[in-house]
């Protein structure tokens, strides 16, 4: 029954073609249920990732691997931290399976009953994770460190700052912009201010946030601006309109790579701000096993190495040390300080209110 017959088109040949076509369609129809059943059996995973490079690495490297290994499809949504908590709360009866946000939100979400803890024994690779990245009694699986420090415009600032305290110098009046209190690095400005005001190390000073706020208020007198979001901050830095702006390395690095006159200031006397971003599981998540596979893959050494080589920030894996370029962009890892977010989250409403009285 060759279709390559050179006989003139006859009813018989046509019928053969129709039969063949029909057989093909019938074959597909028979195959289809198998295909869909397999897909349904393999399942899907609803993941909400952050923006920018925080998500890009996962999308490009991990998702294909995940889908190949498990046969499941990933439904990805991207959002910003500011929206994620609200998403978590409003969708608590039908939540995504995994959400990527930082430790600053984890305690908050946990206390509202919105998160469930991970089961370490289902995530074998967790054995290789640094202490600092194991958060909140396994309520969050820290995968990456979103370090933030003072970014400066290299044309407008000739001597990079060596301490956060320099932001208060009169020579820097009107040249500083700080993050809003709604951003986590905005909260860290308060803890850093407390360090400077009390002279104590972060581990003690962070509890004296009232002192910190009092000291931070001096920045306002010094003409410091407050940015409302990334567009403003980037525009300030890139044009040099306001040349000293604390910001997250992960979001600035791609811009630096594009040739912007921006550089990070490190090390800083009081320490740079570390902020662990983790993968968190909402309470009613449906696809727990798949989520655990996702987390496990995120902890694989080959993936974590890319956090260093591509994102140029601190990796969660014990055996991955910062490469030279990462050291350039991120700075020395021992200069990174982490805060007590359990405490800060609890007091965030009060802190926010007091901050608003000063800057709002």
């Amino acid at each position: 029954m060759s279709n390559k017959s050179t006989k003139p088109a006859s009813a018989r040949t046509n019928r053969r073609q129709v039969l063949k076509g029909g057989a093909a369609i019938a074959g597909a129809a028979f195959a289809a249920p198998w295909v869909t059943t397999r897909a349904r059996a393999a399942g899907e995973l609803n993941v909400v990732l952050n923006q920018g490079l925080l998500a890009k690495l996962w999308i490009e490297e991990l998702h294909p691997k995940f889908e190949a290994e498990t046969g499941a499809t990933i439904n990805l949504q991207q959002s910003v931290t500011a929206q994620m908590l609200a998403m978590l709360k409003t969708q608590k009866d039908n939540p995504p399976d995994l959400m990527q946000f930082s430790e600053a939100g984890v305690f908050f979400a946990r206390d509202e009953g919105l998160l469930r803890p991970h089961e370490p024994k289902n995530i074998p690779n967790i054995a290789n994770v640094r202490e600092a990245f194991l958060l909140a009694e396994h309520y969050s699986a820290g995968v990456i460190d979103a370090v933030n420090t003072i970014m400066y415009n290299t044309s407008e600032v000739t001597e990079p700052p060596k301490a956060w305290a320099e932001l208060w110098d009169s020579s820097n009046a009107g040249r500083v912009a700080i993050p809003p209190v709604g951003w986590n690095n905005g909260m860290r400005m308060i803890t850093t201010a407390a360090q400077i005001a009390t002279g104590k190390p972060l581990s003690e000073a962070q509890y004296e946030w009232e002192e910190g706020l009092r000291y931070l208020a001096k920045l306002k007198e010094n003409g410091a601006a407050v940015y409302t979001g990334a567009p403003q901050a980037i525009q300030m830095l890139q044009t040099g309109q306001i040349p000293l702006v604390p910001f997250y390395g992960i979001f600035i690095n791609p811009i630096i790579d594009q040739g912007a006159p921006i550089a990070p200031a490190h090390p800083l006397e009081e320490g740079m701000h570390g902020e662990i971003v983790g993968l968190n599981m909402p309470t009613n998540a449906k696809n727990v096993e798949l989520a655990e596979v996702y987390i496990n893959l995120s902890y694989e050494k080959s993936f974590q190495e890319k956090i260093d080589s591509v994102l140029h920030t601190r990796s969660a894996h014990k055996e991955v040390d910062p490469s030279p370029r990462t050291l350039e962009l991120m700075g020395p890892p021992d200069n990174i300080q982490y805060a007590d977010w359990a405490f800060l989250s609890k007091h965030r409403p009060q802190i926010t209110e007091k901050w608003n009285e000063i800057f709002g």
């Binding site: 899907e44 609803n46 923006q51 920018g52 490079l53 998500a55 890009k56 999308i59 439904n75 990805l76 949504q77 991207q78 959002s79 910003v80 929206q83 609200a86 998403m87 409003t90 969708q91 009866d93 039908n94 995504p96 990334a230 567009p231 980037i234 890139q238 979001f251 791609p254 811009i255 594009q258 040739g259 912007a260």
Partner: protein, 266 residues
């Protein structure tokens, strides 16, 4: 008569000046889309078409745009039709609490969009229809319903019903009167209402972000995601493209159906 000319001159200057102001951001967007450098410079120091090539790099931009177009078109059509009935009822009939009702119908505009998103997603989850494209459609309809109501009511209020009475006195049925007399005179309200609803729905981010998940996404969401990670002019290039497409569509409809100039009357 030179007094009148002076008057026209002043109004002309003010008017054209305002129009320049109105066009300015769109013109700027187009200009920036040809920026040679990665960073937005005004005026640009060099030119390039790179960003147009880069549009395809916006994640899922094809399906997102299609979704947005579909939702905007459907939402705008549906609310315009519903608004027609409502506007007729408001203007033509007397019933109690009319002023309150009118305010109610217009209130979605005064409510912060974030609130609408939050209220709706909780509601949809309860109804178990969350994250479907028709729930997204409903959300957008709630958002834009007020606009056609306003424009059609405005059209009706200034409407000359004498012609209708004339038609009726000549024996035309209510339905025919409606179709051939009333409706054409309402064109300004209908069309401007539809266009407002379409454009606002197409560009909306706050409602969509709360109502989507996974496969469902809209153009503003993907553009916003892109802007959050890249600070290059690609969104400007993309914006230029769809502005051109929308303008072409409007112009095409104008050519075929003379819709816009008819809608201006006189």
């Amino acid at each position: 008569m030179s007094e009148e000319r002076g008057f026209r001159l002043v109004i002309g200057i003010l008017g054209w000046g305002s129009i320049v102001f109105l066009v300015f951001p769109v013109a700027l967007t187009v200009l920036v889309s040809f920026n040679g450098s990665y960073f937005i410079e005004v005026p640009p120091s060099s030119y390039s078409l790179d960003w147009y090539r880069n549009i395809a790099n916006i994640n899922k931009i094809g399906e997102a745009t299609l979704t947005s177009l579909m939702i905007a078109a459907l939402a705008a059509s549906l609310v315009t039709v519903m608004a027609l009935g409502t506007a007729l009822a408001i203007v033509r009939h007397e019933f109690p609490a009319k002023a309150a009702l009118t305010s109610f119908l217009l209130s979605p505009i005064a409510v912060p969009i974030v609130a609408i998103g939050i209220a709706l997603i909780q509601f949809f989850i309860r109804l178990d229809i969350a994250f479907t494209w028709y729930s997204l459609l409903i959300g957008h309809m709630v958002l834009v319903a007020a606009y056609p109501v306003r424009t059609i009511v405005a059209s009706l209020t200034l409407y000359n019903s004498n012609i209708e009475e004339a038609a009726a006195s000549l024996g035309a049925s209510r339905w025919i009167t409606f179709w051939t007399v009333t409706l054409p005179q309402l064109k300004p309200g209908l069309i401007s209402g539809f266009l407002f609803a379409f454009l606002i729905s197409f560009d909306n981010y706050p409602i969509s972000i709360f109502l989507v998940r996974g496969g469902l996404t809209t153009m503003p969401i993907e553009v916003f995601n892109y802007i959050s990670q890249n600070f290059d002019p690609t969104p400007a290039a993309f914006s230029t493209v769809y502005i051109l497409v929308i303008s072409a569509l409007i112009m095409f409809v104008e050519q075929r159906y003379r819709v816009i100039s008819l809608s201006i009357g006189r």
